[in-house]
Symmetry: C3
Subunit: 435 residues, 3 copies
Amino acid sequence: MLKIDIDEIDRTDCGNQIHQLIQELFPICRSITGDGVRETLSIIKKHISLDICEVPTGTQAFDWVVPQEWNIKDAYIIGPNGEKILDFKNSNLHVVNYSTAINQTMSLDELKGHIHTLPDAPDWIPYRTSYYNPGWGFCMTHKQFLMLEDGNYEVVIDSEHSDGSLTYGEFFIPGSTKDEILIFSHCCHPSLCNDNLSGVAIATFLANLMQTKESRYSYRFVFSPASIGSITWMSENEHKLANIKHGLVIAVAGDNGHMTYKKTKAENAELDIAVQVVLQQKGLEFDILDFSPWGYDERQFNSPGINLSVGRLTRTPNGCFPEYHTSADNLDFVKANALADSYATYLDVFNVLDNNYTFINQSPKCEPQLGKRGLYRKTGGHKDVGKRELAMLWVMNMSDGSQSLLDIADKSKLDFDVLVRAAADLLDCDLLAIA
Amino acid sequence: MLKIDIDEIDRTDCGNQIHQLIQELFPICRSITGDGVRETLSIIKKHISLDICEVPTGTQAFDWVVPQEWNIKDAYIIGPNGEKILDFKNSNLHVVNYSTAINQTMSLDELKGHIHTLPDAPDWIPYRTSYYNPGWGFCMTHKQFLMLEDGNYEVVIDSEHSDGSLTYGEFFIPGSTKDEILIFSHCCHPSLCNDNLSGVAIATFLANLMQTKESRYSYRFVFSPASIGSITWMSENEHKLANIKHGLVIAVAGDNGHMTYKKTKAENAELDIAVQVVLQQKGLEFDILDFSPWGYDERQFNSPGINLSVGRLTRTPNGCFPEYHTSADNLDFVKANALADSYATYLDVFNVLDNNYTFINQSPKCEPQLGKRGLYRKTGGHKDVGKRELAMLWVMNMSDGSQSLLDIADKSKLDFDVLVRAAADLLDCDLLAIA
Amino acid sequence: MLKIDIDEIDRTDCGNQIHQLIQELFPICRSITGDGVRETLSIIKKHISLDICEVPTGTQAFDWVVPQEWNIKDAYIIGPNGEKILDFKNSNLHVVNYSTAINQTMSLDELKGHIHTLPDAPDWIPYRTSYYNPGWGFCMTHKQFLMLEDGNYEVVIDSEHSDGSLTYGEFFIPGSTKDEILIFSHCCHPSLCNDNLSGVAIATFLANLMQTKESRYSYRFVFSPASIGSITWMSENEHKLANIKHGLVIAVAGDNGHMTYKKTKAENAELDIAVQVVLQQKGLEFDILDFSPWGYDERQFNSPGINLSVGRLTRTPNGCFPEYHTSADNLDFVKANALADSYATYLDVFNVLDNNYTFINQSPKCEPQLGKRGLYRKTGGHKDVGKRELAMLWVMNMSDGSQSLLDIADKSKLDFDVLVRAAADLLDCDLLAIA
């Protein structure tokens, strides 16, 4: 049985290490293709021996085609008085991601048709993309936008679209069975910390730890661009999907909000119950969302032709915090303690899934005599029963081969940990067998 | 796909027309058999080309036998002082429906044993029947009853029971499939407007409109007496029942109360969900009742040997408004705007049922690329997704051949209309096929 | 059909008789084996012709072995000043049940390691046992404990463990079918009234009455020690288990609290619904508990290799009243009126189970004409329908061979009694047949 002692994690140290990796990845300008993703994966590779795969532009990926690579060297706007009023070097969010190149002088009016701002958050730069609709644009604070003066602007985006490839990274840890747990983190967003350097960095540290553990499940970590990236990964690796029993999209895991789980399409899958048990037993506030085909890559994994049991475990979900997809999702916004707490929670989900066995009671006619095996207290007549004895009674009573420990936890309202220990004791004296 | 634009209905005009038909039908003295039903059906026939069927007295109808015809020419009571104190010509409710003939002078005491009143509503005449228990009686206001003076009364009911037939009307509109929707309205009550000239008149106008529409379902409208009438219709037309997929009893649809749906016996039939979706999307108050074997003819349609999926959609249901089965259920009690609103609601139920297809996603592995088909907005990075795009994502995600659009509406909480439009767009570009 | 008229029970007389039997049984020192149980069963045998069975020490009973007999003649403690400060003759709770013999003088300190008290209830003597852990001990009030003076104590327990047998009693009443209802009461507790002389005495009177009734079910009453007793009974009588369709553990049925039903493991068994219907129709407060593998012998009956549909019907359950397992659970604590009320409730459960037939409507196409069979009122047009007619309509509508009267009660919200009478009437005129 997998045993990761969540309470033994040094959360300060662990949170700081994760935050440090985020700092290292923050400045890189990522997109759905191009050198930004490559550079990101090569940094991850310093922690875990990632397989980095390149899928050529033009490759069919189910209904999609791998697009051209986009790389950008520079971008800026020079105002009527000759000053550089916007510079890609200050923030890669300033350029609409995947913009075509431009080098032109134009009137303010013409320029304005290409500028995106957030009137409701006038100090923040929005993050915008234009992946499948060739065009160019800039993003700036609304404050700056309001102060733009009439006149001619020199507008430069030194970007290039060219045949190349889409890049993803994969890391596999074999378990004692071929059943797999998939961990997916999207790595296509530029300088945005919570979405999703938090997920990328935590997944790196999870992989790092899990390769040192013995577990029933194999673990497959995938780092790829969102949407076209996960679609391409599935299309290229369709033969691997059959072994995936459970999957988690790990994202938005560094803000101060509470944890939020979005269920699989089935909504009562083993994973759904496991995550809810973990969140309940943490004793902190949390939210459970029903599945919907909108959000991150769980959409793709839960499509009807793929149908993997993949949920999404985040802190405050996408779109639900004001800093989402803005320059305010920065290095200050993600906190070491929140990152460490998310990390520990993911590990606990692994714990629960790995230990969620189904047993068959080997002495099923009435209760067996626990006392003669040293498993029961010595005097009788007391008002109630100890938690450990009660856990053994529940496990014995429900273990007819159709109920897993999670089912027993749900029914008995006992902590999963207590049930795991009770089951281990009963297994030791042959009162249980694995179904 | 059926498309009736509910918002385009001219409710004033439509409500007035329905009310006018009710006015024309109001004076007729109907019963379970006899000329009153015949005259009623012949008036309906001026609007739709109704088949009028006569089933002879004595015909076996399952456990029942078609009873004799009842016809009445006159009825009155002459008081001790020689004045006519009650006259059938003023209200056909004055005579207990199906009364045997009488022509006799009797004491007040003897007469009182045959008089029905409503002590709690002393100004109203009750409606009473004596179908399967030969006898006679009068109904009057309780006020009048209290003022009856001692003495002899001349009591006349000039009615006749004779072999003849039971009469019903049927109107069939073929659709593109042989699957049928049954609309049933009982037409046996004398001068009572809400129960059920409202249902009879609305059904007439529904039939009139539906014969001009192309729809998947065929529609069968039946106008017949309640209980023995519906039983006789089923007994005579047993071969037609297999094609009936859904049915609605239309009644009590003209009062000012909100709409009330009584579910089919299954309680989660497609019809049950369709009606609830329609009522929810109207945005007005409504009630949902569980099935019970008491009420109108839904009792018969849902009997265990018939088992049709028939619900009942009314406004304030039978027995739940004080004017029910009294002279106060008159021409003032039913309102043109309520009649029009009910009419529009029934049509919307037809809309939903007709468009409730089940689809199979033709590109089920991950989401298809909607953008290249012009079905998706152009820039990315926004906080949320448009309703139309979301509807397409839901339809694609759930269309594995097991989920209808109503199932998708229930799950997604999106409006049925929006889903129908999304499905039509996806169908157009071959991303869906009808299951 | 079984017909016990609950309202005709003379509750004063009946409650007094049950209380008298409890008084007679109270002084006996029972244990899981030994003469106390034997004497108890021989007193019950004065009321019903009980079969008394002896199972020898050493007999294998599933995972257990029948233990030695324990018999005790005397026990006391003589204090430093030569006075007898504790005497078994005053209360058999003073000795830890199943204590080994001792006859020794010891210091207060040594003695204290063997004394059990209730600091929170300083006037009461606790009940403690030491069945499977050889040792000895005394129980006393905490008040007395605090006043023990230093010095030497003469400690005597004149008990004996010896090969012998475990004793249980069984009483069988054949019904018209071989399907059985099992009634189980544990009889191993010494002078404790609510737990469980109340159950033992009530079961005796139930058996006494039921042997005079004609019923569909056979009834099997078992009086045995708890745990090892029920386990031994099942082990010795495994061939009888297949006929047991429902079972009730009867215990703790004499206090003033309201009734509490603990469901079978299935939690929606016919028995579970029957008991809930009975408790609802009593109109008094009651509690329903989910199954858990802790409590009385329902644990054993619901173990996965036995899987009998056995629930537990008590008043305030074990462990939930302060007097539980203390000297305060005495003759004053159980009340004649509560005992009579429990007695009547158990009988009503028998009533409901026995009458819970499933029928098939013999005239299933539409409603049959009840009027021609004298089963329907004579005038029509009324606002609502009588309870009796409504019950007939529900029974006719739902009797397709898959729904029992309890299912119909649940759906219709009608009283079970009313449905039974309606079904009897319909059966009489061949409109129903038993499925």
